[in-house]
């Protein structure tokens, strides 16, 4: 089969040093970044980003995929060992991983997580390879009406799903769209809202905005806590015995094949849905695993199913996100949004013809993904002790370095300080939004999709002046109906939740994004 021949050829290519090194470095960075509490996968991929500008597109992507895969698994290490999720996608791993560690089975809890991530990821990879093509052919049938409605649907769904208030989710998405109307309009290049400032004529470039929004928003909560939680840090163990029988761990995972399959599917589907990502996948999968389990009462006491559900789903979620970005050019979460930005820097526009036009990059992505999974296991296996040390690196040193890399990342895009000023502006906005408890994900999606929403809308009305086509074309109409439904559903769910929680003391979680 031609498809698989190509795949194997590209696995061969990725195994060359030229690609293997970035992939390995990315995986290590991902494991560390994922494991560091307070540093998310998004943050890690942002830090890795500037290094990829000088590489060829596939090398850069390999590094980012390494981060993505490594990060998803790395998050589980901290989650299991110290009960703090290294990334939001490992929140549910703490529910059972940490109790298991407390029972003295630290090795089992880490390795159940890692092997589940490998298996879930591999199943996801299979879907990625098989379904991206059909997805892309579907996307090719999408005209401007359908794309417009798809983008609206994506925004409304994200706005409804993240955070605790539908209004704030939508508001965040609207702010994202506002960001994109500054600068030249996408049709005739008319300057809008630039206030005569030449630096704004190109609009706010996506990557500096994204880096800015996340940089301070994610680092500052740590700064706020400096001096407050030193005892907690001191109490963390630095050495643990992680020895375990890997066969028994694998049996822990594989003895419930249907649950494994089900949580993997949840992970993939959530990955495909735009901009929701691993932070939702792991919790939803955990919930499902509990509902379908014969012993739901044991969940939360340190049983392997809980870890399997969380880790297999967040790993499979990576594959789903990659699928969406390759077929439709829509990022499945913030990490793929960065990848999308990096691809555009290299002049590659993912979309329906991506696989046909850039087979080397497309199959390279598949291959990197498949190679990254075992690499991730190897990296954790070999280096677990070392990584634990690095995780303890003081924040006072880590934060300045991360900020410098953010500046380089913004600057290197166009060798221009303008982008760095944009970065600084959005650092402030991002932090302000965190303080106002406005979720960041809809904003990012809004910035990614803004110009495309406008272009597609104008393409649609210039092709045919009838505005009702948005509703009467079946796919387009269906997607718009789904958008309305998703908001209505979110409002309903939210109200129900508020009533349920009304009695309980109001507890504030810092939603990551």
């Amino acid at each position: 089969m031609n498809h698989y021949e190509l795949l194997f050829t590209h696995i061969g290519t990725v195994l060359h040093f030229q690609y293997l090194i970035p992939l390995l470095v990315g995986t290590i960075a991902g494991v560390i970044g994922g494991a560091l509490p307070g540093v998310t996968i998004t943050m890690t991929v942002i830090v890795v980003l500037p290094f990829t500008f000088g590489l060829d597109p596939l090398q850069g992507l390999a590094a980012m995929i390494g981060v993505y895969v490594g990060g998803s698994a790395g998050g589980s290490i901290t989650a299991s060992l110290i009960g703090i999720p290294g990334t939001p996608s490992a929140v549910a791993t703490t529910f059972d991983g940490f109790p298991m560690t407390k029972k003295g089975e630290a090795g089992r809890s880490v390795w159940v997580g890692v092997w589940s991530a490998l298996i879930g990821g591999a199943l996801g990879g299979l879907c990625l390879i098989e379904l991206t093509g059909p997805f892309a052919s579907l996307a090719l049938q999408f005209g401007p009406w359908e794309f417009f409605s798809l983008f609206v649907f994506a925004l409304s769904m994200v706005a409804g799903l993240v955070g605790r208030s539908v209004t704030k989710g939508l508001l965040s998405g609207a702010i994202g769209l506002i960001v994109t109307i500054v600068g030249a309009d996408p049709i005739m290049g008319v300057q809008r809202f630039t206030l005569g400032i030449h630096q704004l004529e190109g609009g706010f470039p996506f990557l500096p905005v994204l880096i800015g929004i996340f940089a301070f928003a994610q680092l500052m909560p740590d700064v706020e806590l400096i001096g407050a939680d030193e005892q907690a840090i001191a109490a963390r163990p630095t050495q643990m015995n992680l020895k375990v029988s890997h066969l028994s761990v694998l049996w822990d995972i594989l003895c419930r094949p249907f649950m494994l399959l089900w949580v993997t599917i949840i992970g993939i589907v959530i990955g495909v849905l735009p901009a929701i990502g691993g932070s939702a996948a792991n919790i939803m999968a955990y919930d499902q695993a509990k509902k379908f389990s014969k012993r739901p009462e044991k969940f939360g006491t340190g049983i392997p199913e809980g870890i399997v559900a969380s880790e297999a789903s967040n790993s499979a979620n990576v594959a789903g996100s990659l699928m969406m970005i390759m077929a439709f050019g829509i990022p499945g979460d913030a990490v793929t949004a960065v990848m999308l930005g990096a691809l555009t820097v290299h002049g590659i526009q993912p979309g329906p013809l991506f696989i046909a036009q850039h087979p080397k990059v497309a199959y390279g992505i598949y291959a990197s993904y498949l190679v990254a999974l075992p690499l991730m296991v190897a990296v954790i296996w070999v280096g677990s002790r070392l990584w634990m040390r690095i995780i303890m690196m003081p924040k006072a040193m880590l934060i300045p370095i991360v900020l410098v890399l953010c500046v380089i990342g913004a600057y290197a895009l166009g060798n221009s300080m303008n982008d760095v000023y944009v970065l600084a502006l959005f650092c402030v906005i991002g932090y302000a939004m965190v303080k106002a408890r406005i979720p960041l994900a809809p904003l990012i999606l809004g910035v990614v999709l803004g110009d495309q929403i406008e272009s597609n809308m104008i393409q649609a009305v210039s092709t045919d002046a009838d505005p009702w086509l948005f509703l009467t074309r079946p796919i387009s109409g269906g997607l718009l109906a789904a958008s309305v439904l998703s908001i209505a559903l979110a409002v309903w769910q939210h109200n129900r939740e508020t009533k349920r929680l009304a009695a309980a003391a109001e507890e504030e979680f810092d939603t990551d994004f």
Binding site: R192, I226, I401, M417, I458
Partner: protein, 166 residues
């Protein structure tokens, strides 16, 4: 009128949308396409405005309900944990801002060294001479390693300073 963070965020967004909407009147009419460059921004700005109003109204209602029930305001309930160290946050912002302004003047290497070192000691005052050395080394290494890796291997020319010439 009492407002929580939600209400303030709503007011800021509302002000933003009113300001931007006023600006759309300066935009030219449509050329070659049925809708002009002002159409889409107006739609988006309207959406933002409406959402801001909803946010403000909800907030006012919530505040009234809270006052009626004589419950402590939400803000205090939220900060059950240790009080956030906003002085450090502010310091980080200021130092970051100064850093960015200094890059074109001092060049990447010097300003990065100064920024990293300064932020390190701001966030955690060194406890011992050894700690000082580690922090300085981290600052030097960040500055130089970044510079050489990006300039020599990744063909990114980092900024030179107009004052320092490097």
């Amino acid at each position: 009128m009492m407002l929580s963070r939600d209400g303030i965020a709503g007011l800021v967004c509302l002000a933003l949308s009113i300001g931007l909407f006023a600006l759309t009147f300066g935009l030219p009419p449509a050329v070659m396409v049925p809708v002009g460059p002002a159409f889409y921004p107006r739609v988006v700005i309207l959406i933002l405005g409406i959402l801001s109003v909803i946010l403000i109204v909800f907030d006012v209602l919530a505040m009234q309900r809270q006052r009626a029930a004589a419950v402590a305001p939400r803000a205090t309930a939220a900060t059950a944990g240790p009080a956030p160290n906003y002085r450090l946050v502010l310091a980080t912002f200021v130092e970051f801002g100064v850093y960015i302004l200094l890059i074109p003047l001092l060049g990447f290497r010097i300003s990065t060294f100064l920024f990293v070192l300064l932020l390190e000691i701001t966030l955690e005052w060194p406890r011992s001479p050894r700690h000082w050395i580690v922090m300085i080394l981290v600052a030097v290494a960040t500055s130089l390693v970044c510079f050489y890796v990006f300039e020599d291997y990744l063909s990114v020319l980092l900024p030179r300073g107009t004052w320092s010439g490097m």
